[in-house]
């Protein structure tokens, strides 16, 4: 069915290139093009398929809100630290204004959501990063919310799960951002000392200071298929070594091959996989 619709659009493309622009405009909002296989997809179909391309299986980036709806049992999510105020530690020109505009535009408050919830009845503390907010970068609010969530898990003796998506440290907060790496990692050490389960899920993209802190410190590290995961960005590496990077470099499958993640899990299987792991850790 999807394929038929796509064929229609594609044929229209070839026959009447002029009029097609108008047709495309009319379709705005209902159709999306998969950036991997280039197929034109009906948005509703993509949505029903958990934001995974029904044609090629590409996992599109999704908001924290949608992720929580996919993972946490309906009606059990209780959000924490939602209204943490922003800071501007190095007084970077236009930073607070940018945050404010972004909040209005995206209706997202920061690059991570934290809270309590249940996965097939198993209580957890969960943190879900959101790449739609300044590339999921970690500044003081993100670092603080993640640390508080980990401390909540310790206090309540609950497993901790974090879905990662991030461009790394938030440059606009200078050294304060870098220090969030140390802060969150120290909190993970406490979680570890408390003997509690820590599952990190790496999604596209997980890079920089987030890879170099809590994302890499899970007892169990899962990843979505074909997610970009690395410390340095591919462009920086290419410039440094002055050669093209091999196909698939820094993708989930590459990390699995090199021993840095436990398992690649498709989005459709994520919830049941997490539930299975949680069940196996029940005392």
């Amino acid at each position: 069915m999807v394929i038929d619709k796509i064929k229609k659009v594609n044929n229209a493309d070839e026959e009447k290139p002029q009029k097609n622009t108008k047709a495309a405009d009319m379709l705005v909002g209902k159709w999306v093009k998969c950036d991997a296989c280039k197929e034109i997809l009906y948005k509703d179909d993509v949505h029903k398929n958990l934001s995974v391309c029904p044609n090629c299986g590409k996992h599109f980036r999704i908001s924290a809100r949608r992720r929580i709806a996919q993972i946490i049992d309906e009606g059990t999510f209780v959000e924490t630290y939602e209204d943490m105020p922003e800071t501007d530690p190095i007084h970077f020109d236009g930073y607070l204004k940018k945050i404010e505009t972004l909040r209005e535009k995206t209706k997202i408050k920061e690059a991570v959501k934290t809270g309590f919830g249940e996965i097939h009845g198993n209580k957890v503390v969960i943190a879900v990063m959101d790449g739609n907010f300044l590339m999921g970068s970690m500044g003081s609010v993100v670092g603080e919310k993640i640390t508080l969530a980990i401390e909540d898990a310790i206090k309540e003796k609950l497993p901790f799960i974090i879905f990662c998506v991030s461009g790394g440290a938030r440059m606009q907060e200078g050294m304060i951002s870098l220090m969030q790496m140390a802060k969150t990692s120290a909190a993970v050490a406490k979680l570890d000392d408390a003997g509690l389960l820590n599952i990190t899920v790496l999604t596209d993209p997980t890079t920089g200071g987030v890879t170099a802190s809590f994302a890499s410190l899970g007892d169990i590290i899962l990843a979505e298929p074909n997610a970009l995961i690395g410390f340095a960005g591919p462009r920086v590496i290419e410039q440094t070594i002055n050669q093209k990077l091999p196909e698939g470099f820094q993708r989930s499958e590459f990390l699995l091959e090199h021993g840095f993640i436990d398992k690649i899990v498709e989005r459709k299987d994520m919830k049941k996989t997490l539930a299975q792991i949680l069940e196996l850790h029940k005392k």
Binding site: I90, V141, T211
Partner: protein, 266 residues
Amino acid sequence: MSKKTAWDIVMLARDAQRPKAKDYIEKIVDDFIEFHGDRAFGDDKSIIGGIGRINGTAVTVIGQEKGSTTKEKMERNFGMTNPEGYRKALRLMQQAEKFHRPIITFVDTPGAYPGLGAEERGQGEAIARNLMEMSRLKTPIIAIVIGEGSSGGALAICVSDRIAMLENSVYSVLSPEGFASILYKDASKNKEAAEKMKITAKDLKELGIIDDIIKESENKEENLEFVSGELKNYITKTLKTLNKLNTKELLNLRYEKYRKIGKMEE
């Protein structure tokens, strides 16, 4: 001191003639023995690690070394550490914990090496592991930024009970060039970025990121001698303070030191 711009200090911190970790180790660590290797992959020469005595106290020393001659710079990868370097550092720091030796780290790097092999061997994991483990090592840790302390590559040997910076060193989330190319889309605005980023010892002390500033001599020829003396005094004095704490107090204070950075009132 205060007349220098942040960019002037960046230039001083990067000066090829500036004393390096090896020079300070030679000056202030008696009976130093260097140890090698991460026991898994190799020996990263951008990190010098070993044991010796400072003013009679046995310590473990970890130093990032950029190298002085062209040949040495190449060997030491210009101080850009690979995962095996961070893992060597962690191995030696855990050894220090076992034998109750304090740890002294000297930080001087343009950043963790952004290479193909570094990614294959888990650069992110290596740095993350150090941050986590250093936060709970049951022995005092003093970190000293002696030149360029750039990004996660520096932080990976910086988690400590006390962190000091030499007066003409910098400590930053990224190099001013990298910062400018990300936020100004123009790497040539590095000088402007340096002023904005708050990367000098003075700025970072005000921000509460570092504890102490170690003075330098205005005379370049005398600087190694002068700074070595200051370092020796600083380390001796600081270890004396830290040794008064029991392990629990030490670790609680270390956690709180990082816990409070970027904490806000709701």
